[in-house]
Amino acid sequence: MADTYLQVIFWAFFALMAIAGIRVVTTRNVIHAALYLVATLLGAASMYVLLYAEFVAWVQVLVYVGAVVVLMLFGLMLTRAPIGSANFDNNQRLVGAVCAGLLFAVTSFIMVGAFEGQEIDFTGTEGTKVQSIGEAIFSIYVLPFEIVSVLLLAALVGAVVISRRDEGRVDS
């Protein structure tokens, strides 16, 4: 019974994500692309909630929607984001579509075949507690965690260095 509800919800979000995802790569307006990406990301967050991974879901919303997409929109508006449509595609559209279609066919065929009959059991689970995630990060995965933090620091410094105007040099 509960599974039927979940299935309905899943397919609804599946449809949302598929449509929004396709619009991200086909729309002719950059801002719309970013906004469709927001829809896709929120759909993904909903999927995480569906999978009882609440913490990941909210991290997704906080980092992706709250920061990454805002940054994207910021960058788009700083560069050039006209209202109305423009062509942002190159002449590899057909090639890309064929590649993507093939990829989708192959990967889904393989994965569906490989995980045939594997079920996610939602009954009885309370979902993953934040505590267990925290314990995992700070015990087994503390090295990757530290590496990620160094990576973030490097990215921060790098971004500042790259985008900073050199003093005294006039930009074209």
């Binding site: 994500m17 896709t40 980092v63 700083l78 990829l103 996610i120 993953t128 267990s132």
Partner: protein
């Protein structure tokens, strides 16, 4: 619920991302497509984590790492895009052949 559903969703998102990377000219749009692909990977990780139940916590941990890396990538990527835009008044990656032989 079969885990295959989520895997199909993930595959779909990833393919869409691949198409975007191949067919888009605008640098920021390419970045967006890369985000799509990363998210596809995340859905996979979380789905497997849910499938494994209590043993699947590392899946979520890795999803978090992916998100962190994606944030770093976007930060640096956008910085580069803005720098290029400032220098060339264009964000068309097909025109960026400056470093080509």
């Amino acid at each position: 619920m079969p885990v295959a559903y989520f895997l199909v969703l993930s595959a779909l998102l990833f393919s869409i991302g691949v198409y975007g990377v191949l067919a888009r000219q605008h640098a920021v749009l390419v970045l967006l497509s890369v985000e799509l692909m990363l998210n596809a990977a995340n859905i996979n990780l979380v789905a497997f984590s849910a499938m494994l139940g209590e043993a699947g916590v590392p899946g979520q941990v890795f999803a978090l790492f992916v998100i962190a890396v994606a944030a770093a990538e976007v930060g640096v990527g956008l910085a580069i895009v803005i720098l290029i835009y400032r220098n060339r008044r264009s964000v068309d990656i097909d025109e960026m052949s400056l470093m080509k032989w």
